[in-house]
Protein backbone atom coordinates (compact mmCIF):
# COMPACT_ATOMS: atom_id res chain seq x y z
CA UNK A 1 0.00 0.00 0.00
CA UNK A 2 1.34 3.39 -0.98
CA UNK A 3 0.79 6.28 1.41
CA UNK A 4 0.76 9.70 -0.23
CA UNK A 5 2.19 12.58 1.75
CA UNK A 6 0.05 15.69 1.61
CA UNK A 7 1.34 19.14 2.32
CA UNK A 8 -1.40 21.46 3.51
CA UNK A 9 -1.18 25.23 3.31
CA UNK A 10 -2.71 27.26 6.14
CA UNK A 11 -3.33 30.96 5.64
CA UNK A 12 -4.42 33.74 7.97
CA UNK A 13 -4.76 37.48 7.36
CA UNK A 14 -5.98 40.63 9.06
CA UNK A 15 -6.92 43.66 6.92
CA UNK A 16 -7.85 47.29 7.57
CA UNK A 17 -8.60 49.78 4.80
CA UNK A 18 -10.08 53.17 4.06
CA UNK A 19 -11.21 54.72 0.78
CA UNK A 20 -12.06 58.37 0.10
CA UNK A 21 -13.75 59.36 -3.13
CA UNK A 22 -15.69 57.33 -5.65
CA UNK A 23 -12.72 55.28 -6.81
CA UNK A 24 -10.51 56.09 -3.83
CA UNK A 25 -9.00 58.87 -5.96
CA UNK A 26 -8.90 61.24 -2.97
CA UNK A 27 -7.31 58.81 -0.58
CA UNK A 28 -6.67 55.12 -0.10
CA UNK A 29 -5.16 53.31 2.85
CA UNK A 30 -4.68 49.55 3.01
CA UNK A 31 -2.91 47.47 5.62
CA UNK A 32 -2.74 43.69 5.63
CA UNK A 33 -0.78 41.31 7.84
CA UNK A 34 -0.64 37.72 6.69
CA UNK A 35 0.79 34.40 7.82
CA UNK A 36 1.27 31.14 5.91
CA UNK A 37 2.30 27.75 7.20
CA UNK A 38 2.87 24.56 5.23
CA UNK A 39 2.22 21.36 7.13
CA UNK A 40 3.03 17.78 6.14
CA UNK A 41 0.10 15.80 7.50
CA UNK A 42 1.70 12.38 7.07
CA UNK A 43 4.83 13.33 8.99
CA UNK A 44 2.79 15.67 11.23
CA UNK A 45 5.43 18.34 10.83
CA UNK A 46 5.52 21.96 9.86
CA UNK A 47 7.59 22.11 6.66
CA UNK A 48 7.93 25.87 6.18
CA UNK A 49 6.38 29.17 7.17
CA UNK A 50 6.29 32.80 6.10
CA UNK A 51 4.49 36.02 6.85
CA UNK A 52 4.64 39.68 5.86
CA UNK A 53 2.69 42.90 5.40
CA UNK A 54 1.10 44.56 2.40
CA UNK A 55 0.70 48.29 2.93
CA UNK A 56 -0.56 50.63 0.18
CA UNK A 57 -1.49 54.29 0.16
CA UNK A 58 -2.77 56.76 -2.43
CA UNK A 59 -3.85 60.40 -2.51
CA UNK A 60 -3.97 62.26 0.77
CA UNK A 61 -2.97 59.21 2.83
CA UNK A 62 0.61 58.51 3.83
CA UNK A 63 2.01 56.07 6.36
CA UNK A 64 4.93 55.25 8.61
CA UNK A 65 5.52 51.71 9.86
CA UNK A 66 5.87 52.07 13.60
CA UNK A 67 6.60 48.46 14.52
CA UNK A 68 6.28 45.04 12.98
CA UNK A 69 6.95 41.44 13.85
CA UNK A 70 7.48 38.98 11.02
CA UNK A 71 7.30 36.79 12.94
CA UNK A 72 6.28 38.22 16.29
CA UNK A 73 6.33 34.73 17.73
CA UNK A 74 7.18 31.42 16.09
CA UNK A 75 8.03 28.05 17.57
CA UNK A 76 6.82 24.97 19.31
CA UNK A 77 4.90 25.82 22.45
CA UNK A 78 3.05 23.76 25.00
CA UNK A 79 3.18 21.53 28.02
CA UNK A 80 2.97 17.78 28.73
CA UNK A 81 -0.55 18.06 30.18
CA UNK A 82 -2.32 19.87 27.37
CA UNK A 83 -0.09 19.09 24.39
CA UNK A 84 2.22 21.00 22.08
CA UNK A 85 1.51 23.23 19.09
CA UNK A 86 3.63 24.90 16.49
CA UNK A 87 2.56 28.53 16.25
CA UNK A 88 3.38 31.61 14.20
CA UNK A 89 2.05 35.10 14.88
CA UNK A 90 2.72 38.21 12.73
CA UNK A 91 1.82 41.84 13.38
CA UNK A 92 2.13 45.35 11.93
CA UNK A 93 1.61 48.65 13.73
CA UNK A 94 1.34 51.53 11.26
CA UNK A 95 0.69 55.27 11.64
CA UNK A 96 -1.55 56.73 8.93
CA UNK A 97 -1.36 60.43 8.04
CA UNK A 98 -3.75 62.65 6.11
CA UNK A 99 -1.71 65.36 4.39
CA UNK A 100 0.89 64.76 7.05
CA UNK A 101 -1.20 66.46 9.74
CA UNK A 102 -3.64 63.90 11.08
CA UNK A 103 -2.64 60.49 12.24
CA UNK A 104 -4.25 57.34 13.48
CA UNK A 105 -2.60 54.05 14.29
CA UNK A 106 -3.72 50.67 12.94
CA UNK A 107 -2.61 47.35 14.37
CA UNK A 108 -3.16 44.19 12.31
CA UNK A 109 -2.27 40.69 13.46
CA UNK A 110 -2.51 37.20 11.97
CA UNK A 111 -1.75 33.80 13.45
CA UNK A 112 -1.70 30.07 12.70
CA UNK A 113 -1.44 27.11 15.05
CA UNK A 114 -0.81 23.54 13.94
CA UNK A 115 -0.31 20.29 15.84
CA UNK A 116 3.20 19.75 14.52
CA UNK A 117 5.61 19.30 17.40
Amino acid sequence: MLAMAAVIEFYSEDVRSDCLGQNCEIGYAYQKTWTKVWYDDSARKMTSHTGAARIDSKGIYGYVVKAQGHPATAGCIGDPWSGYQWMRIDYDTVDWYVLGIYATRWHTQSSIEVYAC
Binding site: G21, I60, K66, A67, G75, G78, R105
Partner: protein, 221 residues
Protein backbone atom coordinates in the same frame (compact mmCIF):
# COMPACT_ATOMS: atom_id res chain seq x y z
CA UNK B 1 -14.79 90.89 -34.77
CA UNK B 2 -13.42 87.41 -35.34
CA UNK B 3 -10.48 88.12 -33.01
CA UNK B 4 -12.91 89.33 -30.34
CA UNK B 5 -14.92 86.09 -30.56
CA UNK B 6 -11.76 83.99 -30.30
CA UNK B 7 -10.67 85.96 -27.29
CA UNK B 8 -14.04 85.46 -25.67
CA UNK B 9 -13.88 81.71 -26.35
CA UNK B 10 -10.48 81.45 -24.65
CA UNK B 11 -11.85 83.25 -21.61
CA UNK B 12 -14.87 80.94 -21.46
CA UNK B 13 -12.66 77.86 -21.60
CA UNK B 14 -10.37 79.29 -18.91
CA UNK B 15 -13.38 80.09 -16.70
CA UNK B 16 -14.75 76.56 -17.17
CA UNK B 17 -11.37 75.07 -16.21
CA UNK B 18 -11.23 77.21 -13.08
CA UNK B 19 -14.79 76.23 -12.08
CA UNK B 20 -14.02 72.54 -12.65
CA UNK B 21 -10.83 72.84 -10.59
CA UNK B 22 -12.76 74.54 -7.80
CA UNK B 23 -15.37 71.75 -7.78
CA UNK B 24 -12.66 69.08 -7.62
CA UNK B 25 -10.92 71.00 -4.81
CA UNK B 26 -14.22 71.36 -2.89
CA UNK B 27 -14.89 67.61 -3.10
CA UNK B 28 -11.33 66.88 -2.03
CA UNK B 29 -11.52 69.36 0.85
CA UNK B 30 -14.85 67.88 2.01
CA UNK B 31 -13.24 64.45 2.16
CA UNK B 32 -10.21 65.76 4.04
CA UNK B 33 -12.42 67.61 6.53
CA UNK B 34 -14.52 64.46 6.98
CA UNK B 35 -11.40 62.52 7.98
CA UNK B 36 -9.77 65.24 10.08
CA UNK B 37 -12.97 66.25 11.88
CA UNK B 38 -13.39 62.95 13.69
CA UNK B 39 -14.44 63.55 17.30
CA UNK B 40 -11.39 64.23 19.46
CA UNK B 41 -10.39 61.60 22.01
CA UNK B 42 -9.77 62.30 25.66
CA UNK B 43 -6.08 62.33 26.59
CA UNK B 44 -4.81 59.57 28.89
CA UNK B 45 -5.17 60.95 32.44
CA UNK B 46 -1.92 61.86 34.18
CA UNK B 47 -1.33 59.47 37.07
CA UNK B 48 1.03 59.55 40.02
CA UNK B 49 1.77 55.84 39.76
CA UNK B 50 -1.46 54.88 41.54
CA UNK B 51 -4.17 53.86 39.12
CA UNK B 52 -6.24 51.10 37.61
CA UNK B 53 -6.02 50.64 33.83
CA UNK B 54 -8.60 48.75 31.81
CA UNK B 55 -7.43 47.16 28.55
CA UNK B 56 -9.06 45.38 25.68
CA UNK B 57 -6.96 42.20 25.46
CA UNK B 58 -6.85 39.86 22.47
CA UNK B 59 -5.39 36.55 23.56
CA UNK B 60 -4.01 34.10 21.00
CA UNK B 61 -3.38 30.67 22.44
CA UNK B 62 -4.03 26.97 22.03
CA UNK B 63 -7.76 27.53 22.20
CA UNK B 64 -7.71 30.05 19.34
CA UNK B 65 -8.25 33.80 19.55
CA UNK B 66 -10.34 35.41 22.28
CA UNK B 67 -10.96 38.95 23.50
CA UNK B 68 -11.31 39.77 27.18
CA UNK B 69 -11.05 42.72 29.54
CA UNK B 70 -7.68 42.98 31.25
CA UNK B 71 -7.34 45.16 34.35
CA UNK B 72 -3.97 46.17 35.77
CA UNK B 73 -3.83 47.89 39.15
CA UNK B 74 -0.71 49.89 40.04
CA UNK B 75 0.64 51.35 43.24
CA UNK B 76 3.75 53.55 43.01
CA UNK B 77 4.30 52.27 39.47
CA UNK B 78 4.30 48.62 40.59
CA UNK B 79 1.70 46.13 39.41
CA UNK B 80 -0.17 44.84 42.45
CA UNK B 81 -3.17 43.13 40.87
CA UNK B 82 -4.14 41.78 37.44
CA UNK B 83 -7.50 40.51 36.29
CA UNK B 84 -8.37 38.83 33.01
CA UNK B 85 -12.05 38.48 32.15
CA UNK B 86 -12.87 39.50 35.71
CA UNK B 87 -10.76 36.69 37.21
CA UNK B 88 -7.60 37.50 39.14
CA UNK B 89 -4.43 36.08 37.56
CA UNK B 90 -1.07 35.60 39.32
CA UNK B 91 1.47 38.37 38.74
CA UNK B 92 3.88 35.56 37.80
CA UNK B 93 2.10 35.52 34.43
CA UNK B 94 4.22 38.62 33.69
CA UNK B 95 7.31 37.53 35.55
CA UNK B 96 10.13 35.31 36.68
CA UNK B 97 11.26 32.50 36.33
CA UNK B 98 11.72 33.36 32.68
CA UNK B 99 12.42 36.26 30.37
CA UNK B 100 10.07 34.83 27.78
CA UNK B 101 8.69 38.27 27.27
CA UNK B 102 10.70 40.94 28.98
CA UNK B 103 7.93 43.48 28.37
CA UNK B 104 5.92 41.52 30.95
CA UNK B 105 8.67 42.26 33.46
CA UNK B 106 8.50 45.96 32.59
CA UNK B 107 4.74 45.94 33.13
CA UNK B 108 5.41 44.64 36.63
CA UNK B 109 7.46 47.71 37.52
CA UNK B 110 6.97 50.78 35.36
CA UNK B 111 9.84 52.53 37.16
CA UNK B 112 12.26 50.20 35.36
CA UNK B 113 11.22 51.32 31.89
CA UNK B 114 13.36 54.47 31.98
CA UNK B 115 16.62 52.63 32.68
CA UNK B 116 16.25 49.35 30.82
CA UNK B 117 18.68 48.98 27.92
CA UNK B 118 20.70 46.43 26.02
CA UNK B 119 23.13 46.05 28.92
CA UNK B 120 20.17 44.85 30.99
CA UNK B 121 19.04 42.34 28.40
CA UNK B 122 22.38 41.11 27.07
CA UNK B 123 23.01 38.69 29.95
CA UNK B 124 19.55 37.24 29.30
CA UNK B 125 20.28 36.77 25.59
CA UNK B 126 17.80 39.36 24.39
CA UNK B 127 17.79 42.58 22.43
CA UNK B 128 15.84 45.73 23.28
CA UNK B 129 15.07 48.80 21.20
CA UNK B 130 13.68 52.06 22.68
CA UNK B 131 12.61 55.14 20.79
CA UNK B 132 10.50 58.19 21.49
CA UNK B 133 8.11 59.22 18.73
CA UNK B 134 5.09 61.36 18.02
CA UNK B 135 2.12 60.19 20.12
CA UNK B 136 -0.53 58.69 17.86
CA UNK B 137 -3.84 57.30 19.01
CA UNK B 138 -4.63 53.68 18.21
CA UNK B 139 -7.84 53.69 16.17
CA UNK B 140 -9.68 51.32 18.55
CA UNK B 141 -8.69 53.06 21.77
CA UNK B 142 -11.03 55.77 23.10
CA UNK B 143 -8.01 57.53 24.64
CA UNK B 144 -5.26 59.60 23.03
CA UNK B 145 -1.73 59.18 24.41
CA UNK B 146 0.18 62.27 25.58
CA UNK B 147 3.58 60.80 24.75
CA UNK B 148 5.02 57.76 23.00
CA UNK B 149 7.94 55.63 24.09
CA UNK B 150 8.06 52.54 21.92
CA UNK B 151 9.95 49.51 23.22
CA UNK B 152 10.51 46.24 21.39
CA UNK B 153 12.28 43.17 22.73
CA UNK B 154 13.45 40.03 20.97
CA UNK B 155 14.57 36.65 22.30
CA UNK B 156 15.52 33.42 20.54
CA UNK B 157 15.35 30.05 22.22
CA UNK B 158 16.44 26.55 21.28
CA UNK B 159 14.67 25.21 24.36
CA UNK B 160 13.14 27.01 27.29
CA UNK B 161 11.58 24.87 30.02
CA UNK B 162 9.55 26.41 32.80
CA UNK B 163 9.02 23.64 35.32
CA UNK B 164 5.39 23.02 36.14
CA UNK B 165 4.20 25.43 33.46
CA UNK B 166 5.37 24.55 29.96
CA UNK B 167 8.07 24.86 27.36
CA UNK B 168 9.07 26.61 24.16
CA UNK B 169 11.31 25.03 21.50
CA UNK B 170 13.20 26.34 18.47
CA UNK B 171 11.61 29.69 18.25
CA UNK B 172 11.65 33.43 18.43
CA UNK B 173 9.62 35.70 20.68
CA UNK B 174 9.13 39.44 20.17
CA UNK B 175 7.25 41.80 22.43
CA UNK B 176 6.12 45.42 22.21
CA UNK B 177 5.29 48.17 24.68
CA UNK B 178 4.05 51.68 23.89
CA UNK B 179 4.39 53.61 27.12
CA UNK B 180 2.76 57.01 27.67
CA UNK B 181 5.53 58.33 29.92
CA UNK B 182 3.83 61.69 30.53
CA UNK B 183 0.73 59.98 31.89
CA UNK B 184 2.76 57.12 33.39
CA UNK B 185 0.50 54.50 31.80
CA UNK B 186 1.19 51.61 29.39
CA UNK B 187 -0.92 52.50 26.32
CA UNK B 188 -0.46 49.40 24.17
CA UNK B 189 1.49 46.18 24.60
CA UNK B 190 2.12 42.70 23.24
CA UNK B 191 3.45 40.05 25.61
CA UNK B 192 3.92 36.29 25.56
CA UNK B 193 3.65 34.13 28.60
CA UNK B 194 3.91 30.49 29.65
CA UNK B 195 2.06 30.02 32.90
CA UNK B 196 -0.18 27.27 34.25
CA UNK B 197 -2.92 29.78 35.12
CA UNK B 198 -3.47 30.40 31.39
CA UNK B 199 -4.88 26.87 31.00
CA UNK B 200 -8.10 28.09 32.59
CA UNK B 201 -8.45 30.60 29.74
CA UNK B 202 -6.68 28.93 26.82
CA UNK B 203 -6.55 25.20 27.41
CA UNK B 204 -2.73 25.49 27.27
CA UNK B 205 -0.20 27.39 29.33
CA UNK B 206 0.94 29.63 26.46
CA UNK B 207 -0.73 32.95 25.75
CA UNK B 208 0.11 35.79 23.38
CA UNK B 209 -1.63 38.89 24.70
CA UNK B 210 -2.18 42.10 22.70
CA UNK B 211 -3.81 44.86 24.71
CA UNK B 212 -4.81 48.48 24.17
CA UNK B 213 -5.88 50.99 26.80
CA UNK B 214 -9.59 51.72 27.22
CA UNK B 215 -9.87 53.48 30.56
CA UNK B 216 -7.76 54.78 33.44
CA UNK B 217 -9.21 55.18 36.92
CA UNK B 218 -7.76 56.71 40.04
CA UNK B 219 -7.67 54.24 42.93
CA UNK B 220 -7.43 54.84 46.65
CA UNK B 221 -5.68 52.49 49.05
Amino acid sequence: MRVDMMGRGVWLVAAAVVVAALVVFAVWLTAVVAVVARPPKSPVPITNGIFSALYNATVICGGGRKTWDLTLVYRNGKLIKAMLDGREIPLAVFKYPHEFSYVGELLLDLNRIKDVNNKTLKPLGGVINKRIGRPVSLIDSPLAPRSDLLITTSFNYSRLVIEGHGEFRNGTVNALLIFDYEAGVPYFFIINTIHASMREFCGTSFAHITAYLREVKQVFF
